[in-house]
């Protein structure tokens, strides 16, 4: 160690360069010295030492982030690996439990969470809920203006004839979701929204009974699904994308996941 400190002094004393350059060299040497002294380095006895593993949740969940992104940003474009960042923690933890219990079907996800404890799933959910990353624009198929208008109508007014309540009555006026259980709908890609609504129809996605989203998805026609997905995916994001505080909405249908709250009719 003494030798290295001596090197630092040599650089400082013996420097004939301008002050700025000498400072840069000094900084560099100090940085190397600091790296050398840091606990990680100190723990490694030699160059053949075992790799150092950060004791962080981010490192522990390398499996999750390999698909969903380090900050849960999801795969760009299609959103095939969905975004997790900023979604309500209660919602995310519940989805993990649903994959565990087979209510939601996707084999790689089911295998991942198969022998994880609820406490660990909760901690992981909180990690992703706390991430803040900008939303990305996604591809939307070219659809006629009338279809987009239909989408807007469903989201903001619903369709009494089909007994479909307005999406915003649960997902919030800003469509950014409601703590702690309702996810946002803005910023999600077209492909993701339409495939999730499709999964509720085919039964590869389900939620605690009564499953209000399954009722809604089954009342929509395939064209309606395209319409809402497209309109939602083309929305401008509000300045504040956080989920609204708990209690901001009165759900028009009973949802099991909201502990049976709601149901004041459409």
């Amino acid at each position: 160690m003494n030798v290295r400190i001596g090197e630092v002094q040599t650089v400082e004393v013996g420097s004939s360069h301008r002050r700025g350059a000498g400072g840069a060299v000094l900084t560099a040497v100090l940085a190397i010295l600091l790296a050398w002294l840091s606990p990680l380095r100190a723990a490694a006895p030699g160059d053949n030492a075992a790799p150092q593993v950060p004791d962080t949740l981010q490192q522990r969940i390398a499996a999750c982030t390999s698909c969903h992104g380090v900050h849960g940003e999801g795969s760009p474009g299609s959103g095939f690996f969905p975004r997790l960042a900023g979604k309500p923690a209660g919602y995310l933890a519940r989805q993990l439990m649903y994959f565990h219990d087979g209510l939601r079907k996707y084999a790689p996800m089911e295998y991942m969470v198969r022998s994880l404890s609820p406490a660990y799933m909760r901690e992981i959910a909180e990690y992703f809920a706390a991430q803040q990353v900008p939303y990305q624009r996604s591809q939307v198929p070219h659809l006629p203006a009338t279809t987009l208008q239909r989408g807007e109508q469903l989201v903001t007014q619903g369709d009494p004839a089909l007994k479909v309540p307005a999406c915003e009555r649960c997902h919030g006026k800003s469509l950014t979701g409601v703590e702690p259980d309702i996810p946002g709908l803005v910023g999600l890609p077209y492909d993701y929204i339409s495939s999730q609504l499709g999964s509720w129809r085919t039964g590869t996605r389900a939620a605690a009974a009564p499953d209000c989203m399954s009722e809604i998805a089954n009342r929509l026609t395939p064209t309606d699904i395209s319409a809402v997905a497209a309109w939602l995916a083309t929305r401008q994001l509000p300045a504040d994308t956080h989920a609204l505080p708990a209690g901001s909405v009165t759900p028009p249908l009973v949802c099991g996941v909201l502990a049976g709250k709601g149901g004041d009719g459409t």
């Binding site: 593993v53 949740l57 390398a62 698909c67 198969r114 022998s115 660990y120």
Partner: protein, 429 residues
């Protein structure tokens, strides 16, 4: 040749049906359901007996087979895939209509000890009674008392997914004659109490041999006990459990084995696939003295014969070189450049039984699926491995697996691209 096999099966079946009738005829005496039980209702309510039964039920891991994904514990409905078809597990909660509500202890004993159902029918050996027959009567009574203390769940049985000839239960008479020896564990007086306890648990309730030994084409185990084998249809390889020369656990210390069973992870390897489930629902809860007993017994298993040398691998070839490149880029950060792993965090791959298993199955599937070792009290926040199914082609997976089977001190044959293709499509049940 297929017709010949069919014919043989048919003849065996005919003989079996006749034999089965005779055999079952001999059973319709005092043990028939309806007769009053020798065990009083008060005995079954004894809290101490129930508490002991709860522990033993955990050791037997009854819950994992008798619970459907997302279903109520012990209410059955899980489908067990076998080469002969799908066998659903029954409801063993005390529901009168659909579970064991009307069962007497004598009926339960006959199921666990003889593999015979309440109506005298033969039970399929997908139910591990070939091991459970070693469980003694006191322990069986405690398990029964515990199961009868559960809240009843109404859940009717699912239909059997077997077709002719396997759906004829009488046909099991032949199978039983070949593969089933009924009998409670007999202690070996020349061995210590701990060794005997370990043997009793491993051979009996723990039913380790149901996975850890090769099965014949007829689904029986005649192989050397615990000498390792492939789990049919589910496509995992349960390794040899000897810790002596050429054993699957060669070099594992007592602490390593205890760590794996208790924490799901040891310095020598991590639990995954079906073993992760065994640890998660059963062995992590075993008492320390039982874990030690199991270890003492496993460490007494004899050394194994040296395997035939792997022979000239299509090594030095482009494949292994390609594998080495993939390893350096995608694996070495965690498993180390010499496959040494990081103690307690990432399993080593050098000398790892799951890398070296004769079939190559486990390593292929571990790379495709990635995953977490199970969460346990000793390892509540495990580290994980990313799945590579969506990142690497079949050829690349075959290359990297062939590389890790060949690198360092490892010397196991290369795997084929077509195997990767096949296991990529194995359903995760």
């Amino acid at each position: 040749m297929k017709w010949l096999r069919r014919l043989v099966i048919l003849i065996v079946l005919l003989v079996a049906v006749l034999g089965g009738r005779l055999f079952l005829g001999g059973h319709s005496d005092e043990s028939a359901p309806g007769a009053t039980s020798q065990v009083s209702a008060a005995t079954l309510k004894d809290p101490a007996l129930i508490a002991r039964g709860k522990y033993l039920t955990t050791v037997g891991d009854c819950v994992s087979c008798h619970t459907e994904q997302g279903g109520a514990d012990f209410a059955g409905g899980r489908i067990l895939p076998t080469p002969f078809g799908n066998i659903p597990t029954p409801n063993i909660t005390p529901d009168k209509a659909t579970g064991l509500g009307d069962w007497r202890f004598e009926d339960f004993w006959r199921a666990l000890h003889d593999g015979i159902g309440r109506h005298g029918e033969f039970l399929y050996p997908a139910f591990s009674y070939t091991s459970f027959t070693k469980v003694d009567r006191d322990d069986a009574l405690a398990i029964f008392a515990y199961l009868q203390s559960l809240a009843p769940v109404h859940k009717p049985a699912k239909p059997l997914g077997l077709s002719f000839p396997y759906n004829v239960r009488e046909g099991l008479a032949a199978w039983r004659a070949l593969y089933f020896r009924e009998g409670v564990y007999q202690p070996d007086p020349t061995k210590s109490a701990a060794w005997n306890r370990g043997a009793y648990l491993v051979q009996g309730l723990g039913h380790c041999n149901e996975c850890h030994a090769a099965r014949s084409a007829f689904g029986g185990t005649h192989a050397l006990p615990l000498s390792g084998g492939r789990i049919p249809v589910q496509d995992w390889y349960a390794p040899d459990l000897s810790s002596r020369a050429h054993g699957g656990l060669q070099g594992w210390t007592e602490q390593d084995i205890v760590d794996l069973l208790k924490n799901g992870q040891a310095a020598k390897g991590a639990a995954f696939g079906p073993m992760a489930e065994v640890v998660a629902s059963s062995t992590q809860y075993m008492h320390d003295d039982d874990l030690r007993a199991i270890t003492i017994y496993l460490q007494s298993l004899p050394p194994r014969a040296a395997p035939a040398p792997a022979g000239p691998v299509p090594a030095a070839t482009a494949m292994v070189n390609q594998g080495a490149k993939i390893y350096a880029a995608s694996c070495a950060d965690c498993h180390g450049k010499d496959g040494e792993g990081v103690a307690g965090v990432y399993p080593p791959l050098a000398g790892n039984s799951s890398v070296l298993d004769p079939s190559g199955l486990n390593a292929i599937r571990a790379v495709l699926l990635g995953g977490f070792p199970p969460t346990t009290a000793g390892n509540p926040r495990p580290y994980s491995m990313p799945p590579f199914a969506q990142k690497l082609s079949d050829a690349d997976v075959a290359a990297v697996v062939s590389y890790i089977r060949h690198a360092w001190s490892n010397d196991a044959p290369a795997v084929h691209q077509r195997d990767v293709f096949k296991y990529r499509h194995t359903p995760i049940e």
